[in-house]
């Protein structure tokens, strides 16, 4: 399973969830696979998708929130997992795309290459509902299993290299925000 496979699997699962994507290939690929109004695409700040999704999940307890973040970005703000474990938002699902490298910038190896178990890190931070997925079927099963949960869930998707350059993300930040806020306002009407 590569990153595009994982996003295509996620697209089959997503219904009315709010989906936050981390910068770079998370945003670019998710936009190309399943652009929809409930997506909040990050394209500037690295390492903030999980904190952003926590704020969103706490502010909107009736909506389900999915955050898709890369392994490099997750490691930039690991403490965010402790904050998630502290608040236990049952409407938050964290999906980590782990390709063990900085794929978008030329496949530079990640510091975690071959050594770091992100599932155990999440568990150690206090997140109880965790899954590991190396194949599309595993990911589909994990997404399904996480659906009826009563606590935050964490899926560690272990990926093969993408093998393509993701298409560029076309929207400037203000437009991204405006589109998402319009969607949120529409839900509140």
């Amino acid at each position: 399973m590569n990153q595009r496979d994982a996003f295509q699997t996620l697209a089959k699962y997503v219904r009315d969830e709010l989906v936050v994507t981390g910068i770079g290939s998370q945003t670019q690929l998710w936009h190309s696979v399943f652009h929809r109004p409930g997506n909040f695409y990050l394209s500037g700040p690295m390492g903030l998708a999980v904190p952003v999704s926590l704020g969103l999940a706490l502010a909107r307890p009736k909506d389900r929130v999915i955050v898709v973040e890369g392994d490099g970005s997750l490691l930039m703000n690991l403490g965010a997992l402790a904050a998630v474990a502290h608040h236990r938002p049952k409407n938050l699902l964290i999906l980590i795309m782990d390709n063990e490298c900085y794929d978008l910038t030329g496949i530079q190896p990640m510091v975690n290459q071959g050594r770091t178990d992100l599932q155990k890190i999440a568990q150690g931070m206090g997140i109880k509902e965790t899954y590991e997925a190396g194949r599309k079927a595993d990911l589909a099963q994990a997404l399904q299993a996480a659906q009826g949960r009563k606590r935050p869930a964490f899926i560690w998707a272990r990926l093969k290299p993408l093998g393509e350059k993701p298409p560029p993300f076309p929207y400037p930040p203000h437009e991204t925000k405006y589109n998402f806020w319009q969607h949120i306002r529409g839900r509140d009407r």
């Binding site: 709010l18 936050v20 909040f40 990050l42 500037g44 700040p45 390492g47 903030l48 998708a49 999980v50 904190p51 952003v52 999704s53 926590l54 704020g55 969103l56 999940a57 706490l58 502010a59 909107r60 909506d63 703000n77 403490g79 965010a80 402790a82 904050a83 502290h86 608040h87 930040p173 203000h174 991204t176 925000k177 998402f180 806020w181 949120i184 306002r185 509140d188």
Partner: protein, 170 residues
């Protein structure tokens, strides 16, 4: 919660609620300790303690994106730690919230480890385009906090309010 600290922070907290803030993210400073106790004790407030200021800024942006007013309550060094994230996220996207900052390292502070914070934080805020205002001693009479949130929303940018020794009359 006794003494002068509890008096001004009780008023400040009341003003934060008057401004419609329903989610507060915090990282401690001794000037902020009483305020943080109030956030944690209030069932109407979502209090998110974090381990890094940049992370807290992300939580605030997520809450605001979800339609909830938010504040990041940190020491001024937190701004210095978060410059890149502030510039590339709430400034770049246009996301309004309040930074409520204990402005350490100014006249009256004697700790060597605060000096560089007091010397640099205001200039760095200005450099990345975040307007900042000192919180005056009579902030509760002036409506400083609700006004600041109003300005943040008008500007679609974060606004920083600085807690100084004048704020609590020291």
């Amino acid at each position: 919660m006794k003494g002068p600290a509890s008096s001004w922070s009780a008023k400040l907290y009341k003003e934060m609620k008057k401004a419609g803030i329903r989610l507060c993210v915090s990282l401690p400073d001794s000037w902020l300790s009483d305020l943080i106790v109030r956030m944690e004790a209030d069932p109407e407030m979502i209090h998110v303690p974090v381990s890094q200021e940049e992370e807290g800024m992300g939580v605030c942006c997520g809450a605001v994106a979800g339609g909830m007013r938010a504040a990041l309550v940190v020491q001024n060094v937190g701004v210095m730690n978060s410059l890149g994230a502030l510039a590339t996220f709430p400034i770049s996207y246009g996301i309004p919230f309040l930074l409520i900052i204990s402005d350490r390292g100014r006249l009256g502070d004697q700790a060597f480890y605060d000096v560089e914070k007091g010397k640099n934080a205001r200039a760095l805020l200005a450099q990345i385009g975040i307007q900042h205002f000192d919180i005056p001693a009579d902030f509760h009479a002036r409506g400083t906090v609700p006004d600041a949130y109003g300005l943040a929303e008008a500007a679609q940018k974060p606004i920083a309010l600085l807690i100084t020794r004048e704020t609590f009359g020291a």
